[in-house]
């Protein structure tokens, strides 16, 4: 299950046709991609000790606790997440005509 940050409304704003049958797959793909990019940035920003700590915490499975830990230990976490959202949406905006034509 991904973070569902990118919504149909966000795609509509760039004129992407959201009544297509494959739109759910596309949304899932975009949200997975966003999770992945933010995850990579987080991993790169942590040293091995902190990363090992985070892995241990992840095994506990408590998403809220992990979120708190990330906020406390990842420098500029908000900015990282917002930048990755902006980058992905920018790419969607740039390619929205291609997507409509491909349908």
């Amino acid at each position: 299950m991904n973070s569902t940050m990118i919504t149909l409304e966000a795609l509509e704003q760039f004129g992407i046709e959201t009544n297509r049958s494959d739109i759910d797959n596309f949304l899932t793909h975009l949200n997975d991609m966003l999770d992945e990019r933010v995850g990579i940035e987080i991993t790169e920003s942590l040293d091995d000790t902190k990363l090992a700590e985070l892995l241990k915490l992840q095994e506990s499975g408590d998403d809220n606790t992990i979120g708190d830990w990330l906020q406390a230990n990842v420098p500029e976490l908000e900015q990282i997440a917002q930048d990755e959202i902006d980058i992905l949406l920018g790419e969607v905006a740039e390619n929205s005509d291609d997507f409509n034509q491909a349908g």
Binding site: F14, L34, E44, G67, E84, I87, A102
Partner: protein
């Protein structure tokens, strides 16, 4: 070692370098639309090709970074498992009675010989298994990387600290404009027909003009909505470029910090060695 597994770009990535990820996905969506295959498979396959099939180096920069992150996580998990296994073995040895320890020692040499005979066969099997197991571990590590991102995004979204930006407000406005345009078309035609029937004859010609004018108004509203959409696209592109710049700055800062730590460690070692040499030479001076 980590640094070599996780190469950073020397220059800021251009739009074209990052363009491929989504455009590739868009193309894949189009290609897969008939077979209904999820696009993730395409991205995953590309990432995997880097590990297993060096003949096809069609890996996006993002794929390479994900594999690097997965390698780091995997090596940490493996070292943790190895430590745990060592501790368990030690505890087991301590619990053994002297008799059992002697027995284990006496059977050690024959066991070793038998093991050597089996080793070659096992090695063959292991080669096959290791590759599959390695891929499985890498996949597991990638899923952990995605998990970090998901946890962070959920937390920040729930706290209202991140969002899709002001552009969403523009989307609502755009929808409003489109609805308005559609309604105006309907109204103009209905009212045009009613009035044309009522007035008929000479007045009919006049109404044609009125309908045409109504359609022009509608067209300009539709044009307005298109303009608003284009503006939002442009704004999104501009925000993307800014975000790229900040991401590049963060990476550069991180590299600088790691380099500074490396230099500090080297200097400390040198200083420490100098202190030891001074101490060693002290009695002779």
């Amino acid at each position: 070692m980590i640094e070599t597994l996780n190469p950073q770009p020397d220059t800021a990535p251009t739009s074209e370098q990052n363009w491929g990820d989504v455009s590739g996905a868009l193309r894949s969506m189009a290609d897969n639309s008939e077979t209904d295959q999820p696009t993730r498979d395409v991205v995953e396959t590309n990432s995997n090709q880097e590990i297993d099939q060096p003949k096809e180096p069609m890996v996006s920069p993002l794929g390479t970074k994900l594999v690097s992150a997965a390698f780091r996580i995997n090596s940490l998990l493996e070292s943790r498992l190895a430590n745990k296994a060592d501790k368990e073995q030690l505890a087991e040895n301590r619990e053994r009675s002297l008799e059992l320890q002697n027995e284990a020692y006496n059977t050690y040499q024959p066991n070793l010989t038998n093991t050597k005979n089996h080793e070659e066969g096992l090695r063959m099997n292991m080669r096959f298994d290791a590759r599959a197991a390695r891929q499985e571990k890498i996949d597991e590590a990638k899923s952990k990387v995605r998990g970090f991102g998901r946890s962070a995004l959920n937390k920040l979204k729930d706290a209202g600290l991140i969002g899709l930006g002001v552009t969403i407000a523009g989307a609502s406005k755009s929808k409003e404009l489109a609805t308005e345009a559609s309604q105006k078309t309907k109204d103009s035609i209905v009212s045009g027909i009613d009035k044309a029937e009522e007035l008929a004859g000479k007045a009919g010609q006049k109404m044609e003009g009125a309908i045409e004018s109504g359609i022009n108004t509608v067209s300009s509203t539709v044009e307005g909505a298109k303009e608003a959409r284009d503006y939002r696209r442009e704004a999104a592109k501009a925000r993307k470029e800014q975000a790229h710049g900040r991401r590049y700055e963060r990476h550069a800062k991180g590299m600088k910090l790691r380099r500074a730590i490396g230099n500090f460690v080297i200097r400390s070692r040198t200083t420490g060695q100098t202190a030891v040499d001074t101490w060693k030479n002290y009695p002779t001076k």
